[in-house]
Symmetry: C2
Subunit: 218 residues, 2 copies
DNA sequence: ATATAAAGTTAGGTTTATCTAACAAATTTA
DNA sequence: TAAATTTGTTAGATAAACCTAACTTTATAT
């Protein structure tokens, strides 16, 4: 059985490779940063995960998940997102509160518990942030859509997911008037820095490129 | 914040002192046995818990919880029993399955989660094994009743709780035909070894003294 | 193409929770 | 009460997950 720490490394690798578009390999520093540890620490763990055949990794090379590693990572993501959905739908947690508690709950080991949780929630496909919930077989239905940054000026789109789950980011999302399924109109965009002016329910805001890249729309 | 391990030591101390009748102090060996660690390990932890003012303890002396330690212990017990109730009532877990998963869930840190869980279950006073669930203030309503061993020959009683939560014990309880609120008739008892002959729903069984001491009745 | 910067690794150290083996204190028993 | 047993403690080791500091490899930029 994997430790919580090992599970967290696999989950981070999954997010950095499969879920973050266009890049399917990561480096030690980037992984370390994502986990809030020093590169030296991540390096130790990489050796261990390689030894357990959960990642592909050679000294000074890039890192990727093996099939076995990816399977484990998806299971953790599945648990995380099911618990977020549970907290949001059944326990009146807010958008920005669910993540922190789900970070703990995702490490509970009990296949029966997850099966029952999934059933209790009626086999949801999305979590409260709009992210896809892998099913019991590890299959992911919904594909990551385009981001707000890719929406043309004048067009209107609908928020389907956010990529950053930190409470501070989510609180900012809310402060701009956004929520899941909100309609967003793109008013203008600055060429030189990617800043986008948007309108949500009559409220206008200017958001950074980085922000726009983290808002997934349809 | 306490580690999971520290929480487990406090919980064990609570069970060994306050919940197990007649004895309000414990020794290192007994504590170590309850936690499945070696006495030397427990000894290390005792020093740490003393330093944190969670236990009363002097070298070669007996151990007891301080008010602060007891408060923390009760909080863990509360969480454990609420989760057991949740698993049993909402997720169709059986009597003997709830304990193991609750051992993990009891360490999730979120006061909001516990409040919501308590509310969701409608503020239960007993868990599926009949044990009292401390309320949000740490108060325990139901007092531990008498055991099957104390029931006179010929009398009928009702099972209200069991003291040992191991799956093997609970499975044995079930095999004798027992469950929460079951009626038990005491047919006879051997003087020399405390063995008790009982009848449950027409089924007769002979149980050991140790078994009878772990069955609480009203 | 080489110097500098960035990324990655290694060595050695810390903390937490565990262990074994040896020892000391307290209790029981003959 | 003295010996034997049980109970409790200490010292020294180990493994996991982290750190800092120094070093090496790879990438970048003039």
């Amino acid at each position: 059985m994997l430790s919580q720490t090992e599970e967290n490394y696999l989950k981070a690798l999954f997010h950095l490779t499969t879920e973050r578009a266009s890049k399917s390999e990561v480096g030690t520093n980037e992984l370390a940063a994502a986990l809030n540890v020093k590169p030296a620490t991540a390096n130790d763990m990489l050796k261990k995960l390689k030894q357990k055949k959960l990642i592909n990794y050679e000294k000074y090379g890039k890192i990727s998940l093996t099939v076995a590693g990816r399977k484990q990572a998806i299971e953790v993501v599945r648990k995380h997102r099911l618990w977020e959905t549970f907290l949001y739908e059944k326990f009146e947690f807010t958008w920005d509160e669910v993540h922190e508690v789900a970070e703990q709950l995702e490490h509970i080991h009990s296949s029966k518990l997850i099966e029952k949780l999934d059933k209790f929630l009626n086999y949801p496909e999305k979590d409260p942030h709009g992210d896809a919930i892998p099913n019991a077989k590890g299959e992911i239905k919904i594909q990551p859509g385009k981001t707000l940054l890719q929406v043309a000026i004048g067009k209107t789109c609908k928020l389907v997911a956010v990529r950053d789950n930190s409470a501070s980011f989510l609180q900012y999302v809310v402060s701009v008037g956004l929520g899941l399924s909100c309609k967003i109109r793109v008013i203008s965009r600055q060429e030189f820095d990617g800043t986008t002016e948007i309108e949500v329910n009559g409220k206008k805001s200017i958001v950074s490129q980085k922000f726009a890249e983290n808002i997934y729309v349809a």
